[in-house]
């Protein structure tokens, strides 16, 4: 057990640094740059029951200290993920991986979670009830405590692996959602997903993003994320994974000080592909500097 290791819902991981779903694919592209086995784990691309192309392009826009995205859960569908992606992923990553699951009905969430739960490589199920870029699913489950509880309960009854529920910041009271999913058996919560936003193109006078709105991520949202992680960590007993705009070892420490057990890093991967490796390498020095330990 190294200095950086943490216990995430019963599984010891080498360090608390976890690339966030949707910013890391299935790891292959990053494995070209560094040995991704240095990561605690990573959360692979959000998976749904059926294959999805996602939204029309443009799906991306620059913002001050961040970006908007409206990819819309493009993925090959759970069967193909299990048949094709997981065996390939095994070649580049040899630790338990986090399976991020999305859906458009409780039944779909259960179906996809159950299949991924049965895969040996999968260590945790991360239930994404907070995607702001799809209609009629995703975030609609994460913005209402009753709906969030319902889907958590249904999935929890069918999976054996730890269940982490990924929460939306696009709510009045994130604490009530966190408590609702904890009460129905969530083994952990991860937050925050992106904040809903938009940009206009001055020349066309129309939204830049084809989906009109997108999810804001990047350093711009870090203080909001930190505040929500702090509030939730005070209110629940299960581990909290903090995410939202983290881009340095110092940011990781702030999240841990706010009550996080581990962190996910998203948008920063897209700009600095080796950022997670760099942060892991820098953590001991920064921890020394501030005399801070994770345990």
């Amino acid at each position: 057990m190294g200095r950086l290791s943490v216990n995430l819902c019963g599984i010891e991981i080498d360090n608390p640094v976890i690339p966030a779903s949707g910013t890391f694919g299935y790891g292959y592209e990053f494995a070209e740059i560094y040995d991704i086995n240095c990561l605690g784990t990573f959360s692979f691309k959000g998976t749904t029951k059926e294959p999805r192309f996602g939204n029309a392009t443009p799906r991306i826009a620059e913002t001050a200290s961040g970006m908007l995205n409206a990819v819309g859960l493009q993925n090959p569908g759970v069967e193909k993920v299990i048949r094709e992606e997981l065996p390939k992923l095994k070649n580049v990553f040899h630790k338990p991986v986090m399976a991020n699951v999305s859906g458009f009905s409780v039944e779909e969430y259960v179906y996809t979670s159950k299949l991924l739960d049965a895969e040996e490589q999968v260590g945790w199920i991360e239930l994404n009830i907070s995607c702001p870029n799809v209609h009629g699913g995703g975030m609609s489950f994460g913005t209402d405590p009753t709906e969030a509880a319902k889907v958590t309960k249904a999935v929890k009854a069918e999976v054996k692996k730890p269940l982490i529920v990924k929460l939306s910041p696009n709510v009045t009271d994130i604490v009530s959602i966190a408590k609702a999913v904890e009460a129905e058996g969530a083994d952990g919560v991860s937050l925050i997903n992106t904040l809903m936003g938009m940009r206009f193109n001055l020349k066309t006078r129309k939204p830049i993003i084809a989906n009109v709105t997108g999810g804001l991520s990047g350093p711009a949202i870090f203080p909001v994320a930190l505040r929500m992680v702090y509030q939730v960590a005070q209110a629940v007993k299960v581990p909290v994974i903090g995410m939202g705009g983290i881009s340095s070892a110092e940011d990781v420490l702030e999240m841990m000080m706010a009550g996080a057990t581990a962190v996910e890093i998203g948008a920063a991967n897209l700009v600095n592909p080796a950022i997670c490796r760099d942060i892991i390498n820098e953590l001991p020095e920064v921890m020394d500097k501030y005399g801070y330990e994770f345990r």
Binding site: F53, R59, M67, G218, A267, N269, V271, P273
Partner: protein
């Protein structure tokens, strides 16, 4: 893919809004014409993808048009400035299928990647023809450089202010064995419908990462979903699916 620090050697305007930047650094990861680099620019979050115009002896040439904040910042950079680049990005042009008389068609700021391609094809002993399409004479660039390679260079201007009046697709030669093209989508579409051979088309899209991780630039093709940044930007004619 490789992350490398480059140093700007030169950065000067070719027209009112088009600039040429020459950088020195490790270009070993760039393996084919039509690939691009993704530049980190101070003060901006996302990198900016720019196609490789030429590559020789550790010098990388980029030609870019000022269209927004990122390219505007680039236009102000001075020699000696260090830049963080991701290199070796994208699936470039495959020269092995060109036959002996390939035709290159470039429109506006789509012209630059064709220069490195033309040089490669020429080195392989092929008889290259290039058509350059611009709106007007004042926007013209690279004509001399193409001609200096000793290849047949045809220019079309939409307003007729220089050489042929019309679009690049209005001046197609009679004989060619294969087509390589890059330019605005309406031009690519016109090329697609007018050419008699197969070809390779380079597409543009707003990107997040530029290396295949974020699915920000996906498109539909005959052979499934493709990422413009990773599976493209060059797609083969046979796999292109136009969506209206």
């Amino acid at each position: 893919m490789k992350e490398t620090i480059f140093t700007i050697q030169n950065n000067s305007p070719l027209t009112e809004s088009v600039y040429k930047m020459i950088l020195s650094g490790d270009t070993s990861e760039i393996t084919s014409p039509g690939q691009f680099v993704n530049l980190k620019i101070d003060g901006l979050f996302l990198r900016r993808p720019i196609s490789v115009c030429d590559l020789e002896d550790g010098l990388l040439t980029l030609i870019y048009k000022v269209v927004g904040k990122g390219t505007e910042e680039m236009s102000k950079m001075i020699p000696g400035t260090k830049m963080n680049l991701l290199t070796g990005l994208g699936n470039g042009y495959d020269t092995s299928v060109s036959g002996n008389k390939p035709l290159l068609i470039g429109g506006g700021v789509g012209v630059p990647p064709l220069y490195y391609l033309a040089r490669k094809l020429k080195e392989e002993g092929k008889k290259v023809i290039v058509i350059l399409g611009f709106n007007t004479k004042s926007e013209l660039f690279l004509e001399k450089e193409f001609a200096d390679l000793g290849i047949e260079t045809i220019v079309a201007t939409a307003d007729g202010s220089y050489q042929n009046k019309g679009f690049a697709t209005d001046v197609l030669p009679k004989e060619y064995t294969y087509v390589y093209t890059c330019g605005p989508e309406p031009m690519l579409k016109a090329v697609f419908h007018k050419i008699q051979t197969s070809g390779q088309f380079s597409f543009e899209e707003r990107m997040g990462c530029g290396f295949g991780a974020c699915m920000g630039c996906s498109c539909k093709t005959i052979t499934g979903y493709k990422r413009i940044c990773k599976d493209g930007p060059v797609l083969r004619k046979e796999e292109i699916l136009w969506e209206d």
